[in-house]
């Protein structure tokens, strides 16, 4: 079934609100699965209160230098595109934050002094929430590289399900990793100059990936109408507008899903789903081909996790452990 990625350039526009309420509105009609790809600051669990059943570690391979074998030739440092390894005097320093775990330093080392050790970037927690499968990634505090966790999370997607992906904010590598292969990008914005500026950036990212777009305006009524005008010019549909309302803000602040407190909203989220299905955001042609823009989604068939991200066996932590398990402090 289709994959809907909920994204935004600007943070705090309401991605998680849309993702959570869309899932809760559709769950009685469609087989939904929820993937929280905002691995730096995942928040959907606050609203969905999942029962986490499995935790697995995502690692990258980090070079380690055997000083006995190293002759300080500097070939590793010369080869590294990320300046992640440097020869300083008799020492070779590896900068974890910069290392992508590509393994090139090991390949070029003429004395075989480099071997690689797995280094944990974060964890993936999987379980069940409100009757549907739920998974989220958590980047360890102090780690820089979020994308391997997002790729590993997406490898868990079961195509039998309608997948709702809560993407991270921004337009950089984590956002691209989350949006890649989605059938539609639901871009959430607010009608302010900041919202408009960042919506344009997000539209640019989705378009460069060939993912059809629909826009949701949150906190409608504040700011001005420039977002509406931009969407009209660009031919972007706006199948849902959520007004600014202190009650809605208060529900969000307490971690209560909108459709739980105000069930009338369910119909509007179901309407949102039908709208994006029937019109396919921009690029309506992709609907005919089952939401598959040219050349995309082929990666769905590849089940393997990134080999740079080494999977360790899943640990069963029992149904009563909260989602905080495994979160670095």
């Amino acid at each position: 079934m289709i994959r809907i990625a909920i994204a935004s350039g600007k943070g705090g526009t309401g991605k998680t609100t849309i993702a959570v309420n869309l899932a809760l509105s559709l769950v009685e009609r469609e087989p939904v699965q929820f993937i929280d790809c905002d691995v730096e600051e995942p928040n959907a669990h606050i609203f969905l209160k999942p029962r986490i059943k499995q935790v697995r570690s995502v690692k990258k391979l980090l070079p380690q230098v055997d000083e006995q074998l190293c002759n300080q030739c500097g070939e590793c440092a010369k080869a590294c595109e990320f300046n992640a390894i440097a020869v300083i005097g008799k020492k070779v320093l590896v900068y974890n934050d910069l290392c992508h775990g590509c393994g090139l330093c090991k390949m070029v080392c003429p004395t075989g002094a480099i071997h690689e050790i797995p280094h944990e970037l974060g964890v993936i927690e999987a379980g069940e929430a409100r009757g549907f499968p739920f998974a989220q990634g958590l980047l360890n505090v102090g780690e820089a590289m979020a994308t391997p966790i997002i790729h590993a999370l997406k490898d868990d997607i079961d195509q039998q399900y309608l997948t709702i992906i809560d993407a991270p904010p921004g337009t950089g590598c984590p956002t691209i990793a989350a949006l890649y292969g989605a059938d539609i990008a639901l871009l959430v914005t607010e009608p302010t100059p900041f919202g408009l500026h960042d919506l344009k950036a997000a539209v640019g990212v989705a378009r460069s990936l060939g993912v059809p777009i629909a826009v949701v305006i949150n906190r409608n009524g504040i700011g001005d109408d420039r977002v509406e005008r931009y969407c009209e010019q660009e031919g972007l549909s706006i199948p849902l507008r959520i007004p600014f309302d202190r009650e809605i803000a208060a529900l969000y602040s307490e971690g209560t899903p909108l459709v739980d407190a105000l069930p009338a909203w369910k119909e509007r989220f179901i309407h949102l789903y039908h709208e994006i299905i029937s019109q396919g955001g921009e690029g309506a042609t992709s609907v005919a081909s089952g939401f598959m823009p040219d050349g995309l989604n082929k990666r769905r068939t590849q089940g393997a996790t990134l080999s740079a991200a080494v999977d360790v066996p899943a640990v069963d932590i029992g149904p009563n452990e909260g989602p905080k398990k495994g979160e670095a402090g």
Binding site: E40, G172, R207
Partner: protein, 288 residues
């Protein structure tokens, strides 16, 4: 020149609005927008560009199909799933490490530089600004963040500035870590929601991990008084000093629409709160 960095973990809590207020109130300062994914600070300013340039991010593996013998060695070594079954290179997955080029026996693959964004410095009504824009779909925002900071420090030297105000990005990963190195003080901007508190805990972990002094501001504090109190209790427990609360005020958005900061409106309650926060900041900043 000493620097203060605005971070939040969660997006949309008001980092840029507070940074904009500080820009209006502070003297002898340089402004740097390190949220290169979604730079917004310039929208509160009127920038006249003084210098600019292209940013070359990661390189991209490019294959000469005429030389390629489809031996498959590249696909074996690529750890990023960037080489497809038919040995075409997927530019969105490629991280530009060069492992494929190294193993290619016929030198069919080369690493090609690409322009991933652009940086600029500008004069604004509130002082000199360094900022950048990452092009849609491009990567390595951490590297661009470092470049913006470098440009800001150069501006600081040139203008003999005392203070660098850095607007950071949401999250806790690569661009945040790149912006945090060398900062003298971090102001964490949060909002009274369970998400805000959850994300605050994680970003505080990052800031403490790098040993940087942190202060807290609670924005839109009256949206949920109970959660605001919970956040203050957490701050007390963590010995995270609170610089102040800002009430929800539509004037913040109204002023943003006309490209101004709420502190420029004398009637704005949020503006008054931000001015107070700035006063407290000036007192504590001397010690950092």
């Amino acid at each position: 020149m000493k620097s203060v960095l605005f971070l939040s973990g969660k997006g949309g809590t008001g980092k840029t609005s507070l940074a904009g207020a500080f820009a209006f109130l502070a003297k002898e300062k340089i402004l740097a927008d390190c949220d290169v994914d979604a730079a917004n600070l310039h929208l509160l300013l009127d920038p006249k560009i003084t210098s600019e340039g292209n940013f070359q991010g990661i390189k991209l593996a490019v294959k000469d199909d005429e030389k390629c013998t489809s031996c498959g060695k590249c696909r074996e070594v690529c750890r990023f799933q960037a080489i497809d079954e038919d040995f075409t290179i997927d530019s969105y997955m490629c991280e530009g490490c060069g492992a494929c080029a190294y193993v290619c026996p016929v030198e069919a693959i080369t690493l090609s530089p690409r322009v991933s964004g652009h940086w600029y410095t500008a004069e604004t009504q509130l002082g000199p600004l360094a900022s950048a824009e990452l092009y849609p779909g491009e990567e390595t925002s951490g590297k661009l963040v470092m470049l913006v900071k470098q440009k800001a420090y150069e501006l600081g030297k040139e203008k003999n500035a005392k203070l660098l105000l850095i607007d950071g990005s949401p999250g806790i990963g690569c661009p945040v870590i790149a912006s945090a190195s060398g900062a003298n003080l971090v102001i964490l901007v949060t909002e009274p929601s369970l998400s805000g508190l959850h994300d605050l805990k994680r970003i505080l972990g990052v800031v403490r991990h790098f040993g940087i002094a942190a202060y807290l501001v609670i924005n839109k504090a009256d949206i949920n008084e109970k959660v605001s109190e919970k956040i203050e209790a957490f701050a007390a427990q963590e010995q995270l000093p609170v610089l102040g609360r800002i009430p929800y005020d539509r004037k913040v958005t109204e002023m943003m629409v006309v490209g101004k900061s709420a502190v420029e409106d004398e009637e704005s309650l949020a503006g008054a709160a931000m001015s107070k926060i700035f006063e407290r900041f000036t007192e504590v900043f001397r010690d950092h």
